[in-house]
């Protein structure tokens, strides 16, 4: 009875004062237990991030896998599964000392042999690794267990971004016993040392995660050591923008990934929601121009294409000013970003027209598109028709660019494809002239991954422009070989200069991790190597 009265009284007080204080509850400190629902937009194709290597894999993998090291804001590398490491003076040998007493959630101990098994699995063609492979291929030689606690990575040539690369969940360390079950089973339920473990992946619906009660291997930059506060996480897939945002509003979800840009203002005004965003480093979302295609083999036509589109205006309009424009081949948050290349080819229809005339595209067809020897200036741009893969704002952006190119006499053919057909386009130089692409990465070495002969030779389609340049390759390899910041700055700058001149890409906007978190959930944070949401420090207040 007394309690009832108290509740009634406080309700009156609350309403009369119109108090909207939500932080007072935090005074009590983190509470243990409870379940939350995290609503993601895209579903991974495999829960083992070594396979393929797409963003949805790393976001969820961060919850059940630990990496060797972690990255802090500003680029500093701190211990995680590796309590320390030494780098040889020639930069080619890395010795990692592992935290003692750590076990995978299937009981297997974490030792040097387990780490070696991870590198072996990543490089095994059967794993079908794309992201990890491209980070390692040009540099990695072998991994060896020096003792049960010390693992050595030997490199073919020095690779200063190695630690940054290894800090991503893409390089999360998995149980060798679980990996031995084969790719298919490991995709369903990979096993790590992380704060949560995978219970079951209900395809098209969610991944069920439960707390790892024995967790004691949090990274040095975590907000607390020891097991996670939350007992249970439902990692749900709500690909429809409206549904996902609605789930947060209705309390069905406690965190949502990728707040629809259209709803940004509403979300900001809502006191029961906090927004967090992180601008990824790496290569921004860009339209890559297929330099192996007859039309875009001509650098003048590539430059004309870029001049003809008012990309800055298009990004601002489609993304309601929420996403910034980026015209450089790496995003502003990437180390050694050079602001001189922020907007290298401003909107300039006159320049576009002049370049196209020079290139011989002087004829016009009935619809007003340019022609050369009777062939129309038509470029194909395939994309995934699925709204989760290509959100509405991206479609708007593509249509706006299409309309701008039309004015210049370039016909952009948008092809909305089913996922299988769209995947089949990758690596097929004859299937497209333009392809949307991004590469989130903590290091400017991403330029080498996207535009090098080495990547082209891997032939997995990740060199979307089918383009490389010996000078660029050399510049980026030299940048990776040095640890001197002044030298790195100079080399990475000239790489950005070279890339801009080549016009292999029309950069548009940097990818972001944008979370909206309900006010009953606290201490969700975003790590900086890949913008992965971290739930191990999060706790509920009732």
């Amino acid at each position: 009875m007394r309690r009832l009265l108290l509740v009634a009284l406080s309700a009156v007080l609350l309403t009369s004062c119109a108090a909207r204080e939500t932080t007072t509850a935090r005074g009590a400190g983190p509470v243990r237990g409870g379940s939350i629902t995290y609503a993601a937009d895209r579903e991974p194709t495999c829960l083992d991030p070594h396979n393929n290597g797409d963003m949805p894999q790393t976001y969820v993998a961060r919850q059940y896998l630990d990496s060797l090291v972690s990255e802090e804001k500003g680029g500093k590398i701190v211990p995680w599964l590796a309590s320390g490491w030494t780098i040889s003076p020639d930069g080619r040998t890395y010795d990692f000392r592992l935290k003692p007493g750590v076990r995978f959630t299937d009981g297997t101990p974490l030792d040097a042999a387990a780490v070696v098994a991870n590198f072996d699995q990543i490089l095994d063609p059967k794993t079908q690794s794309s992201t990890d492979l491209l980070y390692l291929k040009s540099y990695y030689d072998k991994a060896t267990a020096l003792s049960s606690e010390v693992v050595r990575i030997s490199l073919k040539r020095p690779y200063s971004p190695l630690l940054s690369a290894l800090s991503q969940a893409f390089f999360g360390i998995e149980s060798p016993r679980a990996m031995a079950r084969g790719l298919q089973q490991n995709c369903e339920s990979p096993v790590g040392t992380g704060p949560f473990k995978v219970v079951k992946w209900h395809h098209e619906r969610d991944v069920e995660l439960v707390r790892n009660d024995a967790y004691h291997s949090a990274p040095a930059n975590a907000k607390h050591q020891g097991p996670a506060y939350l007992e249970h996480v439902t990692w749900k897939f709500l690909k429809d923008n409206t549904t996902r945002y609605g789930a947060l509003a209705s309390g069905e979800a406690d965190v949502i990934f990728n707040v629809p840009p259209e709803d940004e203002q509403t979300a900001k005004a809502d006191p029961s929601i906090t927004l967090q965003s992180f601008v990824h480093s790496g290569s921004p979302f860009s339209l890559d121009l297929n330099a192996a295609s007859p039309i875009f083999a001509d650098q003048r036509v590539r430059q004309a294409f870029i001049h003809a589109s008012d990309a800055k205006e298009a990004v601002q309009s489609a993304y309601a000013g929420v996403f910034p424009y980026e015209g450089n081949n790496i995003s502003s948050g990437t180390p050694f970003y050079d602001p001189r290349y922020h907007e290298p080819f401003p909107y300039d229809p006159a320049a576009a027209a002049r370049l196209l005339d020079e290139a011989g595209w002087t004829g016009r067809d009935a619809e007003g598109y340019r022609t050369k020897n009777g062939r129309p200036l038509t470029v194909r741009l395939p994309y995934k028709g699925d709204g989760a893969e290509t959100p509405p704002a991206d479609v708007t952006l593509l249509e706006d660019i299409q309309a701008m190119e039309r004015k210049a006499g370039i016909k952009v053919e948008l092809q909305a494809l089913d996922s299988a057909s769209a995947d089949a386009v990758w690596g097929d130089a004859k299937a497209y002239e333009l392809l949307g692409n991004y590469w989130n990465s903590p290091t400017p070495a991403v330029m080498y991954i996207k535009f090098s002969k080495a990547t082209l030779d891997v032939a997995n389609g990740q060199n979307t422009a089918f383009a490389w340049d010996p000078e660029l390759d050399d510049t980026l390899l030299r940048a990776a070989a040095t640890t001197d910041p002044a030298q790195q700055k100079q080399l990475y700058s000239s790489a950005q200069h070279l890339l801009t001149a080549k016009a292999w890409s029309l950069p548009l906007y940097p990818i972001q991790t944008r979370l909206a978190v309900s006010d009953r959930l606290h201490d969700v944070w975003i790590e900086v190597s890949e913008g992965e949401p971290v739930l191990s420090d999060a706790y509920l207040t009732s």
């Binding site: 194709t45 395809h203 098209e204 549904t243 299988a420 995947d423 089949a424 990758w426």
Partner: protein, 319 residues
Amino acid sequence: MHTSGPALAQRAARRVLEAVLLLLAVGTIVFFLEQLVPGDPAIAILGGASAHPTPSAVEAVTHQYGFDRPLLAQYWSFLTGLLHLDFGESYTLKQPVLEAIAGQVGPTLALTFTALAIAWVLSILATLATAGRRGAWGRLGAGVEAAAAALPQFWLGLVLLIVFAVRLHWFPVIGSGAAGLVLPALTLGIPLGGFLAQVTRDEFETKLRQPFVVSARARGMSDAGVRARHVLRHAALPGISLSGWGLGSLVSGAVIAEVVFARQGIGQLLVTAVTARDLPLVVGITFVVALVYVVANLLTDLAYVAVDPRLRSTIGATA
């Protein structure tokens, strides 16, 4: 209240035969259409050309799924699989099709049955209020019904969403739970209700002129009483027999409603499967819908017998 056995058994047997025919027809058509699809199904199963499957993997899958067997043998095992509700594994979900459907069918059934209930309530109310009335009132009823029946579900759904969720905030824009069910169920229920009302109205107006109505009135029964107790019962017959078909059409309408309201369900699953060209999943869902349709038709047949005095051995409830 026992029903006449032989008539019922005969009807049921005919329905079951029809059902089997329907399933076989749909299955056969789909099977042979599938053969027309360009590209190797084994490569599709292995994740498409982009996955760069090795020739040995392709060969293994080809053998495992029996793509190397003669066409007729494949057709036969396809048909026998259907009889066991074994539709194979979804290309995209890497999960048995039946399992995927089972996970999503609940919300869809909730939606369709709610919609059917709404349709019936609307059509009965409309019929009782306006059928057989002279002048503007009757014409208004008929006009509203015709318009309701002709409304495309996608537009009705969008308008309901804009007006009641986005503008008035009476219902959540999205939401599972009862509140979230109202607008999608109305989206499907209103057009079906309009259609059922048209049918019921025609029947109702015919029955109003029947002798038993005249005699009931002569006995001093009120107009409302005659309408509700006697006429409606007779007039509902064609409507009931249409409900089984209506349920089938509601399940296909659920595809639209689930997309408009971003609801989970097999409609949403079907659209995803069609977009991804995941044929086993498409075939499985279509089959389940066909099954629902068949079962619903059987049930309505039974209901028909229960309501139709002529098909009952004990006549004399009315007149």
